[in-house]
Subunit: 292 residues, 2 copies
Amino acid sequence: MNRVIDIISRVRQIDGQFSKREQLVADLVLSQLEDCSQWSQHEIAEAAGVSVATVNRFCQSIGCEGFREFQIMLAQSVAVSMQYLGGPSRDSSESDQLVTQVFGALVDTLHLARSQLNSDAIAEATDALANARRIAFIGVGGGSANVAREGANRFFRLGILAEAHADGYFQRMLASTLEPGDILFAISSSGQPTELLDSVDIARQYGATTLSLTRTGSSLAERSDIAIELAIPEDQDIYKPSASRLVFMAIIDVLAAGAARKRPERVKEYLRRIRTSMIALSGDTSPKPIGD
Amino acid sequence: MNRVIDIISRVRQIDGQFSKREQLVADLVLSQLEDCSQWSQHEIAEAAGVSVATVNRFCQSIGCEGFREFQIMLAQSVAVSMQYLGGPSRDSSESDQLVTQVFGALVDTLHLARSQLNSDAIAEATDALANARRIAFIGVGGGSANVAREGANRFFRLGILAEAHADGYFQRMLASTLEPGDILFAISSSGQPTELLDSVDIARQYGATTLSLTRTGSSLAERSDIAIELAIPEDQDIYKPSASRLVFMAIIDVLAAGAARKRPERVKEYLRRIRTSMIALSGDTSPKPIGD
DNA sequence: TTATTTTTGTAAGTTACTTACATTTTAAGT
DNA sequence: ACTTAAAATGTAAGTAACTTACAAAAATAA
């Protein structure tokens, strides 16, 4: 029973590393999945503006034996995807295609992440977070720093003292002020930044629990008490934003939801207070997201 | 899928009404679904002990145009079936369920958003952003402020002067410094905050283009030159973080990807520079996400 | 600039699907 | 039981589609 290999993900994975003309084929396929799954090699070649041989080589580049195999795998992937995305998409305009492509990549990456997530790590993490007195999120570089901020934003709403810092020096100083019962939550897609590694070492030294959300097997993962590890291939197409940050944020959501469930009373009270303050400000009493 | 015709069901439906030899084919197909989905017409003919022409006629009998079409439909049906049967959803632990729930909600919301997105607004927005000299993202409250930061983070990488601000007073002052060719991008899930409304009014007054990502029909949407509007129901379960912020970020991704495509040269050069600076810092030359 | 490697399209080659037609089988009528 | 017409089937020719070899063009390195 050979498993259904998701050919679409495979194309996305290699996206950006194709040769010029093959990239044209990749773009076409990703932007018009449904059409391509029904077109012949010749039709795809014509639509992409390349020769049939290039289409064939494209198929081989992504690991298929030839177009025949690719065609069937694509049809399967599309059929399975449609199960998720529901009805047929009429990708008429360029904008529609863009949306489909970006959202599709995100959904794919979410699935990939789910398959990689270690349940035990998640369980340990939610447990530690739910009982933490103070949580310090740290991250460097635009992306991870924002994920850290979002983490603080989520947990702060649960009535847990949460903060986020992007400054390497401040991070180290902060780490040295932590104590048992506190959590240092390091976020990095590469798991390399010295600032984070140092901070984790310092925090552990003072007895704080260190938690990380980072790349599988990275230095950061190794040094942390609890590591949530992911191996997400970065999109090689430089014109396309990578979905990994959003997946990181989604995981923060998971942790926040998990922690909230473990401390229902505490959370409820704090949310009530926050909501009250918001209503006082806007006069709007309808149920709305807490904070804008 | 263009039509959700489950070919397996169709074979079962006609089962017993086939001619003698075609029935042999039907029996074979139904008993060895997976094998048949990968076999050629010739292989199936041999396995069933009939001629290839009979296999072809069998395909036509069940409504396909020929073997080609049958082969693809069978492959799709098998792939979808496998999703249900051999599927990876073994939600054993509590953590797994949590992940499934949060990710599932996100995927659902993405789907909803896709159906609501106005292609024209997206097209107009990407066009304006691609040609902007300066983009100022503004948002208030933890969530939207972070989306704004993420927006600045994305566009800054495209070589466009991008900044984000969460301070209401600063936002108003900033708005008054904008000029034609500049963009004020206001982000708010409610579309109510006075800071944003004021800022948009001020920016328009000075000739800047105002863009918003907000709730359908909100004051903010009405006042903006271009409004990307969404009506996403907030999850009432207070223990569950709402998916709307992530969807907002996903839309920022869409816009960034669209804008990048319209200015390939510009983007390429800036990304090259940023990447070079990162390599100098870490010594790692492998293709990696730009910024952590 | 030149040499080398990589990429690409053309065209020939091969496979596999499709169709026409003759043969066989089946079934109904005599 | 025989005849005949209709249906079913297989053979073989036909055709469309995929694959591969090779030479030209482009990109890269020296």
